[in-house]
Symmetry: C2
Subunit: 330 residues, 2 copies
């Protein structure tokens, strides 16, 4: 009896210990090549989690922030949220016969993006206001959930949500296994991301920071609802990112990852005059497996941050050299 | 050897099991009398955490929101944040000799609150702008931290942070032990609360929602800073509370606690047309141990919510009847 008891307890305890130390025993970043980028990430995590180390960071200060478009998932040939908006215009078109002859909607319906873009920022705002406002938050969540579960990227044929970067999923999990709290800090719409970030990235809605439109609280048909209004509330990009971090998180991160000049201020806020800290830039260098673009790109332009990375001590991840795979196996 | 091993493992495992089940074995709410309020709280938590129950709520949806002033700590004779602002005026006065003859500052310095109040809302805004803006977020955090560590309430002689409600501390811990995520959703300033809510309530900065002023990101002396501006950004009160919850948390709570009509909309948002859910109202009924006030109070007015509680199914906590103690033992 005693031996059985002991055997059971030992097995139980051993299983628990194994689970809790799995990140140490195995390679936590199996999709990363053994290059400098991976080594610098692992060295950072090990030093800030080592009790007694001069670089030790208490668990409640282990805040890691990640840009989304181009950092956690692809963003070409245009932001996936724009693909969502264009699909919404098409889905809503039967209720709007006037759109057949009215720009920018006509351009969307005819697949003539040049005509859409000819209207500049005003056209884009009109499309976003039409597709992102005028419904309740619950209704918008439902619309996003349906789209993200079914819409496919024209080039890869994958669902958009399957175009997340496997190495970055591993990095998120690795940081969380080391008691980091992971946040998204994106220029994308906060309510466009929240419906699917928990299942896709393991990041719950309350840890998503993004751009927002104004809302109004009211009761409709006896049910309290949040109504989405066609007015910008906050743009979480460039200098807006530190503001969004301060507002939502209330702590300076010790780890930040981005891929464009829109992340420059977040990287600066995270790493400058603060040690230890870690800045990471995903550099899109792989035209075969993903896309290759940086200084001249109209989406995710990476120019100033690329110039400054070495002097600022930011780690550049070269997708082609540093990642074994881009997307998760299907 | 085997027996020793077994004994050690058994002791180890037993200790762990004891720790993890302490909330079940012992009374999780020892400062609550055995009245209907406590029973309804426990019944709610047990039914939503019971796997297989029709009322079961998955852990990631267990969001509980708490007002702060009058719900987690006292708020008389005026909001403690106003006491902070008045103390700041006094501390800053040596650098502002002109305040000796300039309202509302003169009134503050002379302890003549009537003169201050004679200036109405404009005077209060001037005091808040002077004491809460014009510095960096880090500097303001330092100022708040110093004040909250030393300032004492004139009536009780306690530090303000020792005027938190022991029964509510137990309720927060009880909910967290049952995998609820606890948030503050207060009309008070978000940056006035964040420096001390983690140590006092176990609620980290990123789970604090409150009113805010506008900020600007810049680099000063080579260090990135958030500068606090004398302009209101968001008022987290009344209909603002559901908006603040939606913006910061992105989920509807299943549990909300407040004490005034300023919490009515949050209680409605949490409980109406949603089951299971729990609304709690702290009713200040204890003039001996704390304060007694409701419908006519200039602070924390509780009128409409008191009328509506029964019909809405909200649980009213009668401080005098339901709580064994008010504040933590010193």
């Amino acid at each position: 009896m005693k031996t059985n008891c002991c055997a059971f307890l030992f097995a139980y305890l051993a299983a628990m210990l194994t689970n809790s130390s799995i990140a140490v025993a195995d390679d936590p970043l199996p999709s990363w090549n053994e290059t400098a980028a991976k080594q610098s990430i692992v060295a950072f995590v090990e030093k800030v989690t080592q009790p007694g180390s001069p670089d030790f960071v208490p668990t409640d200060e282990r805040v890691a922030t990640f840009d989304n478009d181009g950092t956690l998932w692809s963003e070409q040939p245009y932001y996936f949220q724009l693909a969502f908006a264009l699909d919404r215009v098409k889905a809503m078109a039967p209720d709007h016969p006037e759109w057949k002859t009215q720009q920018p909607f006509q351009g969307v319906l005819e697949g003539d993006l040049k005509a859409v873009m000819a209207g500049g920022k005003k056209s884009l705002i009109e499309i976003v206001a039409t597709t992102h406002a005028g419904m309740t938050a619950d209704e918008f969540e439902q619309i996003v959930t349906e789209w993200i579960s079914t819409a496919k990227h024209p080039k890869t044929g994958r669902l958009y949500k399957e175009m997340v970067y496997q190495p970055m999923l591993e990095l998120l999990a690795y940081l969380r296994a080391n008691d980091f709290k992971t946040f998204i800090v994106s220029g994308g719409g906060i309510e466009f991301m929240r419906p699917w970030t928990e299942a896709t990235y393991g990041i719950p809605p309350e840890q998503v920071v993004g751009s927002s439109i104004q809302t109004r609280y009211e009761v409709r048909d006896g049910k309290p609802v949040i109504v989405r209004l066609p007015e910008v509330d906050f743009i979480d990009d460039k200098e807006g990112k530190p503001i969004g971090i301060h507002s939502h998180i209330g702590r300076r991160p010790v780890f930040a990852a981005g891929n464009s000049d829109g992340d420059w201020a977040m990287l600066q806020y995270t790493t400058i005059a603060r040690s230890p800290s870690f800045g990471l830039i995903v550099h899109h260098t792989d035209a075969d497996r993903e896309w290759a673009y940086d200084r001249e790109s109209h989406i995710g332009q990476l120019d100033k941050a690329l110039d400054d990375a070495e002097q600022k001590g930011w780690t550049i991840v070269d997708m082609k050299q540093d990642w074994k795979v881009i997307y998760p196996a299907k």
